[in-house]
């Protein structure tokens, strides 16, 4: 047990901080939990949790399997719209609608995966972009206005009072936090499983994984399906939080956001994209306050600079540096201990 705490100290502290955050803010500002700054920060953090899950689902593909998807917003939007339509017009209960979302997302990702993963890796990027754009066009089309609300989006999803984010902000905060933690554990489980090892093998060198005898298509489709389902669940939570589903959830910007979070935080690490979501959301909020509408342009430029100069993100760079520092100090200590004055590097 001690060992466990020592190994995961950082994560546990982060979790504790997030649990205490609303109460601490309420204590400092003197406002109750459902007013003023505490209310606002909880709202901001709920969005961070939702986006963190979405970024994590994206990174299953990009960071862990080495597949680039440019249409991940499709799943986010699928989750939001499916839930919205079923609950609002089908009078389904929310759990039933969530089951439906999982099934639909699994089918969707299965079809896309089987269609596009048989060829060169870039096909997946193109095909997912094409499907997501088509979904965006259809959601915005006036033909289905009755269900999707066309350009305005689907508003006023009826939810039971207990789930209403406006009435029970703190409960929703903990729901979103619990959801994010659960998905984190789940993804960790997947990545450390035998399948996860094969994903990593595909990422590193697909030809070699094939020659060892793995049917890589199966594993790639598997990763796509898992990623799609988790992405759709993030969309569900987003719809419950906003009580609406808008075309923007399907748009390219949503995909680029997920990509950004992975790259900022460090793709291929599990906690990285989640931290990236936090950084992006808070930075976006601040830049928006400071620069107005130009902030998106600034954001795009920051993204390009990151891709060029900090490709491994916060966590990736930190781990690499940490490793170097440790090696350096170990080396120095050893030199002191053995009394040899000469540096080895």
């Amino acid at each position: 047990m001690n060992q466990f705490i020592r190994n995961n100290l950082g994560y546990l502290l982060l979790l504790a901080a997030l649990v205490i955050l609303p109460y601490a803010l309420a204590l400092i500002t003197g406002d109750p939990l459902n007013k003023g700054l505490p209310l606002f920060v909880q709202g901001l953090m709920i969005q961070v949790f939702i986006l963190a899950v979405f970024a994590l689902s994206y990174d299953i593909l990009m960071g862990h399997t080495g597949i680039l998807s440019f249409g991940h917003a499709l799943f986010f939007g699928t989750g939001a719209y499916t839930l919205g339509i079923l609950v609002k017009y089908g009078q389904w209960s929310i759990p039933a609608a969530i089951v439906a979302v999982v099934i639909i997302a699994a089918l969707e990702s299965f079809v896309i995966g089987v269609l596009s993963l048989r060829v060169h890796g870039v096909y997946f990027a193109m095909v997912t972009l094409a499907f997501a754009t088509v979904a965006f066009i259809l959601v915005e089309a006036t033909d289905f206005k009755k269900w999707t609300g066309a350009e305005d989006g689907l508003h006023g999803i009826p939810v039971p009072d207990a789930l209403n984010p406006a009435l029970h902000r703190t409960e929703f905060y903990f729901l979103a936090l619990a959801f994010a933690v659960m998905v984190y554990l789940l993804v960790k489980l997947f990545v450390d499983s035998p399948s996860g090892r094969v994903w990593a093998a595909i990422r590193e060198n697909e030809a070699r994984a094939t020659s060892i005898g793995y049917n890589t298509l199966v594993f790639k489709v598997q990763a796509t399906i898992i990623s799609g389902i988790i992405g759709a669940l993030a969309g569900v939570l987003n719809a419950l939080w906003n009580l609406s589903a808008t075309p923007q959830t399907m748009g390219v910007d949503t995909t680029i956001n997920a990509l950004l979070m992975c790259i900022i935080g460090g793709s291929g690490t599990i906690i990285g994209p989640m931290l990236g979501a936090g950084v992006l959301q808070l930075l976006g909020y601040l830049l928006n306050l400071w620069l107005g509408s130009v902030w998106q342009l600034v954001f795009g430029l920051i993204y390009i600079l990151l891709v060029l100069f900090v490709p491994y993100g916060i966590i990736g760079t930190w781990r690499a540096k940490n490793f170097e520092w440790r090696a350096m100090w170990r080396d120095r200590l050893q030199r002191v201990a053995t009394g040899t004055g000469k540096s080895s590097g």
């Binding site: 269609l115 060169h120 096909y123 990027a125 193109m126 094409a130 259809l138 089309a141 006036t142 033909d143």
Partner: protein
Amino acid sequence: MTWLNKNRNPLITALIILIALVLAFSGKSPQTTSSIILSGVTLAALYFLVASGVSLIFGLMDVLNFAHGSLFMFGAYAGWTFYTNPRLLFNTAPILLAVLAGLALSPILARFVALPRWARWLAVLFGIAMAIFALRDFPIDKLVAMGMSMTGKIIPTAEAQEPIATMLLRIGGMFIAGAVASAATATRSAERLEAPMSRTLGIVGGLVALALITLFVRDLGEQAILGTESNWRFLLALGVGAGTGAALGALMEWGLIRPLYARPIYQILLTLGLTFVFDQVVRFVWGPAGAFMEIPQWFNTSSQDCPSDNLLLWFSQHCDSIFVMGRPFPSYRLFIILVGAIMVLGIALLLQRTRFGMIIRAGVQDSEMVEALGINVRRVFTLVFAIGAGLAGLGGVVAAPFLGVYPGMAMEFLLQAFIVVVIGGLGSIPGAVVGALLVGLARAYGDHIVLAGIQLPWMTDAISGSPAIARASTVLIMAIVLFLKPTGIFGKKE
């Protein structure tokens, strides 16, 4: 027999398409058929101009350029701005040229300056601050608004643009910002050190001179352009669009994509980021609303003789439409088809009949081998990127009088170009032609059906839809092709 075997896939496809065409048009009158086919070929010409670049670039250097739609859009905006509001170009071009001149100093700086890490960050910050300072209060909105309000008229020059002295300060500031940025990123690579100093100085001096000349002739130039007859102005705009596209493409390859050849995934990530940035730049400069571009006089005359009865009569009348099978068809769209056909021919000639084309084809096969033969593949890469981007830019200007200019056109054409290359096979020019024709025809047919409504035998009322359905339906063809032959009709086996 071997010929049949070799071309099995294209032949089967041709057969399927033929059957599909016969089925699709069996119940239609020849007039409807011809106008649908012409509309389809018009779209196909535009799709080809974007898709051919995507395909060429991927074939040669394995870079999937997600910013290609944006190059198309930028070409369209540049050509349209040149046509209606050259003042904006004359006032922004010197500033952009100055940054480039500063950046082009990098081979020289790499020789003398090797900044430590912390100084690099400081230099970056200083460069950004310098750029912000140099661009402060630049009256971009006024410059843009001039063109919107007085389309094609000669505008009074004293308003909206800043005095030459202010502009000179801005140019100087941006030159310094560019130079600082190149000092911050300068690395001592062997290739850079080999570049002769005189050439670098020549490039920098040329850019600076060009910036200054553009600035000093801005009034004269503007009046000369706006005074030109609309047809010639349009032809010049085509050149400007293609040139802008080519220059942007070459810059992208040289400055952003080349450093990332070791990390292929990041190249794609970068180009996707560029689409986002270009989109934001266009929204920031020209606003989120689109605009229409005037059709030049040659294709825009209306008199009592119009529409022209046939193509020959059109040459003397210049009517806005021509009778095709007894139904008027806009003559400008025939011009689009003509441009598309010329470009198909041009690319075919370039690839099959020139030495440069031979190098490209060899590079598609095996670029390492070509390099081993002593050919500078990097320069070929940059040139091909520029050619592909130039085609897209040209396509943008050609499309502008037909579809207008709007920020969404980048995504729209990128999507169609991807569908085209997936159908035809990435890296294959014949594939791009066939794919473009297929998608264009399907799109035109879809538009027709959606407007007219579908009535299947068991339905009481016809279902009609919005154009969005037709836009979305082309993805179905892509899905079918992917299912049957994942590498596309003309694609190589993996």
